[in-house]
């Protein structure tokens, strides 16, 4: 299990470092076209080969990591920023009107898969990476609200919350002081899961043209462009896909490892 956790850590860090390094340096300029070098297979000059415009695939993957991580990170931020307070609020007013409204609102958003939200936004405002962020972010809100509420509800039944009430503390204060710190583990684990789902979703949206637009580099769009030349140059389609799989796999392994490590039930048994 530890091996899986470290593998996850290494893969996630690799994606993160590639994204950060791409801000200052990539092996080749990702916007420089060189038709003479188009569709070259992997070689010492171009480790992962070149695409149909002769661009270096390794460089584009590094820059694409930046887009993927940025979109997923902001989308998780939206989910946490709105979902967690809503979940805490619902749990503090469990069974009441506020709870009902929050939960029905959640159900409603769940009826709009992020792709559908992206379609709606794109239909009206046109495609962009921001659309992808908003679409994925909105879908993250009910996810975090549910996890927060579920975790908080089981805590609200415990006697230490009663003791805090007897000590005159209000719901908001109890939520911040006693509930939130005790569901942090849950949120961290859910955060990694949503982060990896966000990367997958960004790739999917960009693939169908609802996400990042040229010249913003993106793994999903690289795959869309590669599709027509799969037979000519399979590497153009293989490497971006591998980049997605390895990053998402890394994050999932990391999340699983964190859960095993942070879950007090599992820790007590160990």
């Amino acid at each position: 299990m530890r091996v899986a956790f470290f593998l996850g850590l290494i893969l996630s860090l690799a994606a993160l470092i590639a994204a950060l390094v791409s801000l200052v340096w990539t092996p080749y300029d990702v916007t420089a076209l060189s038709i003479a070098d188009k569709l070259k297979p992997p070689s010492p000059a171009h480790w992962l080969g070149t695409d149909h415009f002769g661009r270096d695939i390794a460089s584009m993957l590094m820059a694409g990591a930046r887009t993927s991580i940025a979109v997923a990170l902001v989308a998780v931020g939206i989910g946490v920023g709105l979902g967690v307070p809503l979940g805490l609020l619902a749990a503090a007013n469990r069974g009441g009107l506020v709870d009902e409204v929050v939960m029905r609102g959640n159900d409603l958003i769940f009826a709009f898969p992020s792709l559908v939200i992206a379609i709606l936004i794109t239909a009206v405002f046109g495609p962009s990476a921001t659309n992808a962020i908003i679409a994925i972010g909105i879908f993250n809100i009910p996810v975090f609200a549910r996890v927060t509420r579920g975790g908080a509800l089981s805590l609200w039944t415990l006697d230490f919350i009663r003791a805090a009430e007897v000590a005159g503390k209000g719901r908001t204060r109890i939520s911040a002081e006693h509930i939130l710190p005790n569901i942090l583990n849950l949120l961290i684990v859910q955060g990694t899961i949503q982060f990896s789902l966000g990367i997958l979703a960004e790739a999917g949206l960009s693939y169908v043209g609802l996400g990042a637009q040229p010249p913003t580099p993106s793994w999903g769009r690289m795959l869309a462009e590669a599709q027509t030349m799969v037979t000519l140059a399979p590497h153009v389609a293989i490497f971006p896909g591998l980049a997605i799989v390895l990053t998402v796999l890394g994050l999932n392994l990391l999340g699983d490892g964190l859960r095993d490590h942070l879950d007090p039930r599992l820790r007590r048994a160990g």
Binding site: L158, A163, A164, V166, G168, N182
Partner: protein
């Protein structure tokens, strides 16, 4: 020849020793008691016999059942024995039954799994066995689901499942611990009757000496994975040759030293309190029914007095407690603390709240696991404002409850159940309240720890002139620590009086039933040692 013979049985789980050298015999048809505190290894002994040990368990020694060593039998042979020759019931009836299957199917399954009957015959046997355990078909059809039954009724279903094939040995692991005292008496009667009628041996596992005293012919006392002492119940209880048995005995009959110190002024008065819950509507357009959990309760507590409130689960005592603590609103009547009205939530002023604190039952859920003891104990300062010498006061409070100031920096998981209850008492004490509500505060503790905590409570009451509202289902505990007692049933107070008087001469039939149902060690056995 004995039915079950354990010989030098040892058990380790992942290398950690759990049992060592356990040896006893159970003869056919006898009731054998296995007593011990939590963690003594009594449940593990039962699971070893059943062959249901958790993974990572290694055993040595022998566990012979009708001449066959259960420890070396292959799993196939064990499944043939379980439910067929050896039945078992567990402590928690609320979760012991599959919520998705009817009670008839669950009882019939025992027969079907052992191919002992056809489907139709199995249903007939299920019907008969359920009737035998007190669930006749006209009132409890086989099509009932577990959630439609009470805890006691569910335990009866579990018993019917275990005895459906007339096993030679029934193992009952704390079968009545989760039940109310009157239900406990009925289940114990049922178990006793079954051993007589069916010629079945019963291995009764319990922490309660009084239960064993009334049931078992022979008994073994366990501590730390060993048998400390065993023999005929009466002789063993009378002689108590081992030091551990003596201490266990003394603790379960323990009476803390206390002096009545009630002063005349009224501290808490509850007048005609009513608490109602709106239940779900039975149909979409019907008026929602209302449950009166507390139905016109009046009580007073004087300064320095210790008042007991007893009743079985569902009688409304927890609901009343929440209202008194100012956590829930009441729909009728008034609650006054030191002359001021108690109101729910933030509407209750802090200086009024500061006059009352609480200690809960669950030593595990009573503390935020992420805070250190210093912060946990200091939490009530929220009501009074953080004093400059808060740290010193926390240290003093910890010393007062028998802990060390050095414990301030620790987290709650570093303490035992008894120590946690001491910390809970320190937290209640820190702002010097006039009243402490003790909500089943010693119910989750082993007898010896319970005796120590009761002593501590008695001492603190005297030194601080505290008033206690002591809520419990355990009559013997209430008897030992209160001046006056109220008996609550179905939301009402049915009897009230000085503790000794009520226990000696109960007037209300319900109180009489409660007292009669409470298991006791015969007085004659107590003084011989």
């Amino acid at each position: 020849m004995s039915l079950l013979r354990l010989d030098d049985l040892s058990l380790a789980i992942h290398g950690k020793p759990i049992l060592s050298g356990v040896a006893f015999d159970i003869a056919g048809g006898e009731i054998f008691g296995l007593v011990g505190e939590s963690g003594s290894g009594k449940s593990m002994t039962a699971l070893a016999v059943m062959g249901l040990l958790p993974s990572g368990a290694t055993t040595s020694g022998r566990a012979e059942f009708m001449g066959r060593d259960l420890l070396t039998l292959p799993e196939r042979a064990l499944t043939g024995l379980r439910g067929n020759e050896i039945g078992m019931i567990f402590q928690e009836p609320m979760t012991a039954l599959n919520p998705m299957k009817t009670i008839g199917d669950q009882v019939a399954e025992t027969l079907l799994i052992h191919r002992a009957a056809s489907r139709a015959e199995a249903r007939d046997v299920a019907r008969e066995k359920l009737a035998r355990v007190g669930l006749p078909e006209d009132r409890f059809p086989l099509s009932r689901y577990p959630h439609e039954l009470s805890g006691g009724q569910r335990q009866r279903v579990a018993i019917a499942m275990a005895i459906a094939l007339r096993p030679k040995l029934l193992i009952a692991d704390e079968p009545t611990t989760a039940l109310d005292v009157t239900t406990q008496a009925q289940i114990l009667d049922l178990l006793k009757g079954l051993t007589g009628d069916e010629g079945m041996a019963l291995m009764l596992i319990t922490h309660d000496l009084a239960v064993v005293a009334g049931m078992a012919a022979r008994v073994a006392v366990m501590q730390n994975g060993r048998i400390v002492e065993q023999g005929a119940t009466e002789t063993l209880f009378r002689t108590r040759t081992q030091d551990y048995t003596r201490r266990l005995f003394a603790a379960s009959a323990h009476q803390p030293q206390r002096r009545a110190q009630t002063r005349p002024e009224t501290l808490l008065s509850v007048e005609g309190a009513v608490r109602e819950y709106i239940l779900p509507r039975p149909s979409p357009f019907a008026k929602p029914p209302v449950l009166r959990a507390v139905d016109g309760v009046s009580l007073t507590i004087r300064r320095g007095e210790s008042l007991g409130l007893v009743g079985e689960s569902g009688c409304g005592k927890s609901t009343l407690t929440r209202a008194i603590l100012g956590l829930d609103p009441i729909q009728g009547g008034t609650i006054r603390l030191d002359g001021q009205e108690v109101t729910p939530g933030h509407t209750m002023p802090h200086d009024l709240r500061a006059k009352m604190q609480v200690v809960f039952q669950d030593p595990y859920g009573s503390f935020n696991p992420r805070h250190r003891v210093e912060r946990l104990v200091a939490e009530p300062f929220h009501l009074t404002g953080q004093p400059k010498d808060a740290r010193d006061r926390v240290a003093a409070a910890l010393e007062e409850v028998g802990l060390s100031p050095a414990d301030m920096g620790k987290y709650i998981h570093e303490f035992s159940g008894g120590q946690r209850q001491r910390i809970a008492i320190a937290r209640a004490l820190i702002i010097r309240p006039d009243l402490i509500v003790l909500d089943e505060a010693v119910s989750a503790l082993d007898v010896r720890v319970r005796a120590q905590v009761l002593d501590l409570l008695a001492r603190l009451q005297e030194s601080h002139g505290l008033a206690y509202l002591f809520i419990s289902h355990d009559l013997s505990v209430v008897r030992s620590i209160t001046d006056r007692v109220l008996v609550m049933k179905a939301g009402r107070i049915v009897e009230e009086g000085a503790t000794e008087a009520v226990f000696a001469r109960p007037e209300h039939p319900y109180t009489q039933r409660l007292i009669a149902a409470t298991p006791v060690i015969p007085a004659a056995w107590q003084d011989s040692a």
